[in-house]
């Protein structure tokens, strides 16, 4: 795994913690759209945007040794 992938995996683990910890503690009983609803939506949007930035750095052409 490259260092970029390692950082990406660590970010994924951080998101996993945030995905569970915040809605199940401080936001649990906030009965507003600005509570868990907005939080989960924003977190997912951040992952989608960061994911697109991450894959945008892939080279479009790679050489496969001995492929079909």
């Amino acid at each position: 795994m490259s260092s970029k992938e390692t950082i990406w995996v660590l970010f994924a683990l951080l998101v996993a913690v945030l995905d569970l910890a915040v809605p199940y503690t401080v936001l649990k009983n906030v009965a507003k759209f600005s509570g868990p609803y907005l939080y989960w939506t924003a977190l997912a949007l951040i992952v989608v945007v960061f994911g697109s930035v991450y894959i945008s750095r892939w080279r479009s052409e790679i050489t496969l040794e001995g492929g079909e």
Partner: protein, 482 residues
Amino acid sequence: MNLAILLGGILLWFIAGCVASYYARKWVGKGMAEYFIANRRIGGLVSAMTYSATTYSAFMMVGLVGLTYKTGVTSLGFELTYLMATVFLLTLFAPRFWIAGKKYGYITPSELLSDRYENKWVGAIAAILSLVMLIPYASVQLMGMGYLIEALSGGALPFVVGSAIAAVISFIYSWWAGMRSVAWTDTIQAFIMLIASLILLGFVLTVFFPQGFISTVETETPKLLTVTWPFSLFIGLALPWAFFALTNPQVAQRLYIPKDVRSMKHMILGFSIFGFIYTIITTLLGFAAANIIPGLKVADKAMPMLLTKVPDILAIAVLVGILAAAVSTLNSIILTLSSMFARDVIKALKPEIDEDKELLSGKLLIPVITLICFAFAQFKFGLIAILSAMASGGLLMMLPAILGAFFWKRGTAAGAISSMAIGGIVVGAMYILKLKPLGQWPTIWGIILAAVIFIGVSLATTPPKKASEFVEYVNKTVRDLF
């Protein structure tokens, strides 16, 4: 609802799919790779849409709307957790599957396991586990369509007719030109799913919430905006779904189909955007239904009941959208299971058969698997719902073997086989017996058990020679991507 308009809507959608399948047929060459993975020649948009339409089934517009109707915002959290996990998994594993598939010529995800672990039984066990777990899941799609069409036609089209319509269309789309017809029809169906649900949401929000949607929900149903699921339930349901992209062969097989890296990038990006928008739409519809038609005892009826409150033409567009979601998932499962059974069971056990016979056996399995799913659906077993819920949990037992294939050179065939077989049996038994030791769901216990068995047995046995070459080649090529 007017029966003629209902049948007309279904017919229009069916004809559009047939036209796409007809043209897809012209592109199909010879051989297993051509038929089952379109010879790895699918562009970015079609890859993204077939991945999305395969992933998102009728569960979204029926099950998730009902779940949100009943339990509120936690349903959104559960579904977005799945989306976030899939984005991470695709960015890490899509290039690995794609590179390995191109280098070694894999057609099915289980073939990758057989080759990497140098043991045909690894792929055969994975194929059989997938068959056992996915047939109930596929049957539930047919049951959902049977009930929905029966309800919207006022009983004029009984359950058996509705489920037969979905089964026949799924068969035609998958059999006609294999992956190409499935991918092309999936693309049409993905757009129908998204556009129909978006129009419904727009209509519902403007017509039923003149005082404002947000203020109405916050005032009338504030409880739905709080987190109501117990933590163990959230983990128990989210964990198997989080790894869906790796453990469900009908989506994992799609990681072989992009024609180049650019198409693979578009596939991941397109799926991410589709999934985000579709999840937001379906959960908002659940909140809306809770305010428009409160008090339903069966939450899954929220969407059918909501459709009785909107103009017929819109209801039919949405019904076709739900049918499209069911069929696009079902035809992909049928095609993938057929390819796995042909490649990982028949070919693995009878290696002397040539590719033409292997392909023929795969094609013959398409109607057989469709019929099994249809027959299963007709029983309307309560057990099918349990088996369907079990599907993602049971398939999760393949996770240690899949992760080990890519990252752990010490992983062995004995470890892979024993973890999948024992894990699958234990999880299946726990679901059927409704066992939840210490309040935790069977998947939690199952995945711990499968991981321990995989590591323990692998350490006690000798790794295959291919392991080092495979792991080093794939990981080195992924590093070269940057």
